[in-house]
Amino acid sequence: MFSHNTINNVIMTSLGLLLILMLLPQQASAKVIHKERSLYRNILVEDKGDLRCLKFNVKSSKTQQSCFLKSQPERLYFNYTKLLLSSLLINPNPEKILVVGLGGGTMSNTLHQLLPNSQIDNVEIDNSVIKVAREYFHFFENDNIKAISQDGRVFVKRALLKKQQYDWIILDAFNGDYIPEHLMTKEFLEEIKKLLTPNGILTANTFSVSKLYDYESATYKAVFGDFYQVRNLKNSNRVILAMNPEYNKHNADINNLTKANVEALKQALKQFGVDTHFLAQSMSSTQNAEDWPKNTPLLTDQFAPANLLNID
C-alpha cells in the first residue's frame, strides 16, 4: 500500500515532469520553417514556441527583422516598433501612411487595426520579403493597404512627381548588417520632407551605437531642424521623429505636445503592448540635448559611407 503522501508525491512529480516535457520543445531550439534565397539576401522564417521571426542572412538574434507571437499577433514584439507609434501622440489620425521597409508587415497590420480607414503604402525592395510576409506573417492587404516592390528612393521620387503627400512616413529600411546608403542622405531627407503634408510626421528607426549616430543626427537636424528622439533605455534603438518644419514650429515641451493624445490613445494602444504615458516619457527634443559633435559632417549623395561608419 502506498501512503497518501507517496501517491501525492508521485502525482506531483509526474505532473511536474509532464509540464517540463510540454515546455521543453518550446524552449529548446528554434525551428526554421521557411528558407529562401532572394535577390538580396537569405530569408529565414523561424518558429520558437509561440514566437515567429523573420530573419535575414544568418541565424542570430541580431538579424531579426520582424517577430510576432502567434497567440497574440496584434502585440508589437519589438521595442522600436512601439517607439515608432509615438507619432500618433502628435498626430493621431494620419490618413495616408507610407512605410519604407516591409519586414514581416507587422507594422502595417498594427496600423490597419488602429486606423482602419487610413491608406497604407508599404514599399519593399525585395519581392520575396513581400511574399514571405503574406504567407507567414498574416500581412494584410486590401484596396487601401498595398505593398509595392520598389526601391524606397525611387518610390519617393516618383511619388513627388505625382504630387502625392503623406501624413506619416515611417522609415524602417535599415537592418543590422546592410544599410541602403542612399536612404540616409540629406538629399533623400529633403525629398521625404517635400512628401509630407503640412502636419506630416516622419519617424525613422535609426542607429544608436556606432559612429553613424552622429552623422545621422547631424543630417536629420540639417534637413528638419530640431527633432524628437524616442528611445528606450532597455535597448539600443533610437527612433527619430521629425515634423514638417515648413509648417510646424518646433515645440520642445513634450508634455504639451502630446497632452491631448496620451490619455485618448491609452486604451487603443494598450492591446499592442504600448503604454502611452511611458511612450511620451521616452521622447525628448534635440533643442535641449544635442548629443553629437557640432562639426559632424552630413551624409549626402556625394558622401555616404554609412556601412563603413557602422562597422564598429
Partner: protein
C-alpha cells in the same frame, strides 16, 4: 637610345604604369557608378546589371577600336592623346550627371531601362576610350612576334591588378575620405596628366633620337 630587349626598360615601365592607372580608374569609376545612379534609380540588383553591362560592352568595343587604331602609325603621342581624351570624357559625370539622370528619370518610368540608359549616357564613351588603351599598349610593347603572348599576358596582369586595387581602395577608403565628385575628378586629372606626360616624353625622345642617330622612333 639603343633598343633594349629587356622588357623592363624605362619606356616599357612607363607603358605598364599607364596601363595600371587606366585599369585602376576604370574599376574605380564603375564602382562609383552604383552610387551615382542610386538617388535616381535605386540600388536594386538590376542597377548593377545595367552598370556592368555598359562597362563590359564599352570595354569590348574599346578593345576592338584600340586594336584597329594601333595598326596605323602607332606612337606614344597617340597613346597619350587617348588618355587625354578619356580624361576629358569622364568629366561630364561630374558636371552634368544630375540633369541627365533627372531627364532620364522623367522620361523612363521603368528603373531597369532608366538605369541602363543613364549608365550608357554617362559611362559608355569614356569606357570605350579607356578600353582602347589595352591593345594599344600591347602594340607599343611588342617588338617581336615571339614575345607577343608574354607581353599581352604581362599587360593584362598589370592592368587587371590595377582594376582590383581600384575597386578595393575606392570602396574601402576613398568613399570614406572624399566626395564622389572629388574622386572622379582626381581620376580624370591623373589620366590627363599621364597622357600629357606620354606626349611630352615621346616628343623629347623623338628629338633625342633624331639628333643623336637620325633614325626614326622604332617602337
Amino acid at each position: 637610345m639603343p633598343a633594349s630587349n629587356k622588357s623592363l626598360n624605362p619606356f616599357n615601365l612607363f607603358i605598364y604604369c599607364l596601363a595600371f592607372t587606366s585599369g585602376f580608374s576604370i574599376m574605380g569609376i564603375e564602382l562609383l557608378a552604383g552610387r551615382i545612379l542610386a538617388p535616381f534609380f535605386g540600388s536594386s540588383v538590376h542597377i548593377w546589371g545595367s552598370i556592368i553591362t555598359v562597362f563590359m560592352l564599352s570595354l569590348s568595343l574599346g578593345y576592338l577600336f584600340g586594336g584597329k587604331l594601333s595598326t596605323k602609325s602607332a606612337s606614344l603621342s597617340r597613346y597619350g592623346l587617348i588618355f587625354i581624351l578619356a580624361s576629358i570624357t569622364i568629366l561630364p559625370v561630374v558636371t552634368s550627371s544630375q540633369w541627365l539622370m533627372e531627364s532620364i528619370f522623367l522620361t523612363i518610368e521603368d528603373s531597369r531601362y532608366g538605369s541602363l540608359l543613364a549608365s550608357t549616357v554617362l559611362f559608355f564613351i569614356p569606357t570605350v576610350i579607356l578600353g582602347m588603351l589595352s591593345p594599344y599598349s600591347v602594340r607599343l610593347l611588342v617588338t617581336n612576334s615571339n614575345e607577343s603572348g608574354q607581353v599581352a599576358g604581362k599587360l593584362y596582369f598589370v592592368s587587371t591588378l590595377g582594376s582590383a586595387l581600384g575597386t578595393i581602395i575606392t570602396s574601402f577608403y576613398f568613399v570614406m575620405w572624399f566626395e564622389i565628385n572629388t574622386i572622379i575628378v582626381s581620376f580624370s586629372l591623373i589620366l590627363g596628366l599621364l597622357g600629357l606626360l606620354a606626349v611630352i616624353v615621346d616628343k623629347i625622345s623623338l628629338n633625342n633620337t633624331s639628333t643623336a642617330t637620325g633614325s626614326t622612333c622604332d617602337v
